[in-house]
Assembly symmetry: C2
Homo-oligomer: 335 residues x 2
């Protein structure tokens, strides 16, 4: 379509943008590339082919807009998860800032280890230790207090290697992919093992994903009227771990719909991708493989953070898209 | 605005409708009544005044579109809940249709009581009995099997008094209210004690509320790969009771936002309305008071189904809107 020759098409393009409806001629028909940070190749082609198929009105693979649900893991899929999950850095910083109110932490594990940065002792405290740290730093406050704590931290903390805010250690190609899908009528969701309230603080600003489209791990909460004021308090009790099989069950619980496209990077995302793949009609499953030690990190089967092992094998066996970060991505982070 | 004199305005109205954006001149400016089944009076005026205030660009009470969240109870607020909750009728019918596979039910309570319609014995089995019946009829199947069971039942079952499908025992004034709020940029949610999967079967068709905007009581589920196929099974274990304090905590968990408007009809909705009222800026809380024994039902403080007692007192004390069904509603059900 040559827009210059078609004033009517131009008018419709304008209206489409104006009404925010993504009523924009699809990438196939214009010279505008919706995924400029993706190198040409099989991964990019698989994405644009899928979108073209499901949006082609009257085509055999057409999917109505209300069923265009896409779910994205966060850590390692939308932002950096190495050398350790961002929320764990937040947790350690939070232990430090709360320590003056807890003199006993100096001599109690796992707090002492967290305070002195003793990684070995921290690891030795295991999952039980981690849960203790999590509850001490994330529970016991109102649901309205937590976001400002997380926001303040995100505003000042820096990634140790890239020396930029964690919210800028997001992948430019994935930001483009999120926007591209939304422009094509998709509703984009985050479905991550991270704490739901932590992610909701920045999801809209950074990813364009509103809080009600973020699913994550959660604590139980309690509603009460305190001094005449309704308050919801975060309890020191796990409600849901949104990882592994918890991802598809939470998707089913929160949405009551099965996604037609899912994006992950590790074995924790495998059940979500399997669940997505198991539905009828066109399906799209993608894994980000971290292969770029120079620009980001290279890790897969043996990495304790973001293990990509079984999911990789299944992706290869089933022909899912595996992004080779080093070769598929022109640029890693936003400018 | 006189549309006939303004071809441009007509064009924009057309485009607004065409693009499904609710880009329609607001009710204040035209002779079109968005709430034709509401009699003129304090309730109707409170609704339209609130909507005018929060949508007035540049006004002191303006609320951005993404924060216009409205939550609705279902039973007794959007559809009839007397003489007993619709889902309970479904449950009893389901016990009957499953009975041939369970000969032992003839002599086991609460199943025998359910089969013979022995209300007294049913009541005597209490909450424990109810949970047993619920699990026997709602659990143990895949999440994909349940909707068709519920759908088939809804297609044939009739309300005992009104002799019409339960999905037509919905309140016309509330359907108009849902549509009116959406036309003004609100995102409408159902937040009900009813089973989330039961409501999701008809919420979009009947209320225009998509499944992902329905919050309800839920069972725990389990994800597994069975014969190479991913499957989610409904377990006989309660996940969440979305009633009373469960409403605000679920709203917080699912949305991460506080509604600015809430609609209910019973004490089970009070915490949701209190939570809504407790936020900053303009707020709207409404209770439907069933006062119309002729056209529907009249009940409040002493009704075991849909008790309206504490919530009524609080509504009066705080100046919330209490709809007097008999006087405020011109019409109860859709034609």
């Amino acid at each position: 379509m040559k827009l210059i020759r078609k004033p009517l098409a131009t008018a419709f393009l304008f209206l489409g943008v104006f009404f925010g409806l993504g009523f924009i001629p699809s990438a196939q028909n214009t010279t505008l590339d919706p995924l400029p940070s993706w190198n040409e190749g099989a991964s990019k082609k698989a994405i644009t082919d899928f979108v073209a198929r499901v949006t082609k009105d009257g085509g055999s693979d057409f999917v109505p807009v209300d069923q265009r649900i896409a779910t994205f893991d966060n850590d390692g899929t939308l932002w950096v998860e190495q050398p350790i999950y961002t929320q764990f850095v937040f947790l350690l910083d939070r232990v430090k800032s709360l320590a003056p109110q807890h003199p006993e932490w100096k001599t109690t594990q796992p707090f002492a280890a967290a305070l002195s940065g003793d990684v070995k002792a921290l690891a030795a405290s295991g999952e039980v230790g981690l849960v203790k740290l999590f509850m001490a730093t994330h529970a016991g406050m109102s649901t309205e207090e937590f976001p400002s704590i997380a926001e303040n931290w995100l505003a000042t903390a820096r990634h140790p290697r890239f020396n930029r805010p964690f919210t800028e250690c997001v992948y430019q190609p994935m930001l483009e992919l999120l926007a591209y899908l939304r422009a094509n009528g998709f509703k984009t969701y985050i479905v991550s093992g991270g704490g739901v309230d932590f992610m909701r603080v920045f999801s809209e600003r950074v990813y364009g994903v509103p809080p009600e489209q973020v699913i994550g791990s959660s604590l139980k909460t309690k509603f009460e009227i305190r001094d005449g004021k309704p308050i919801i308090t975060r309890l020191a009790e796990v409600d849901s771990i949104d990882d592994g099989p918890g991802k598809p069950t939470n998707i089913d619980k929160y949405l009551g719909r099965r996604p037609i496209a899912s994006f992950g990077n590790s074995d924790g995302d495998l059940p979500m991708l399997e669940w997505t793949a198991g539905g009828p009609g066109p399906r799209f499953m993608l894994l980000v493989h971290h292969t770029d030690a120079n620009r980001e990190y290279a890790y897969d089967r043996k990495s304790p953070v973001g293990t990509l092992n079984k999911a990789w094998d299944e992706a290869v066996a089933k022909g899912w898209t595996v992004v080779d970060m080093k070769h598929d991505w022109k640029q890693i982070f936003p400018n």
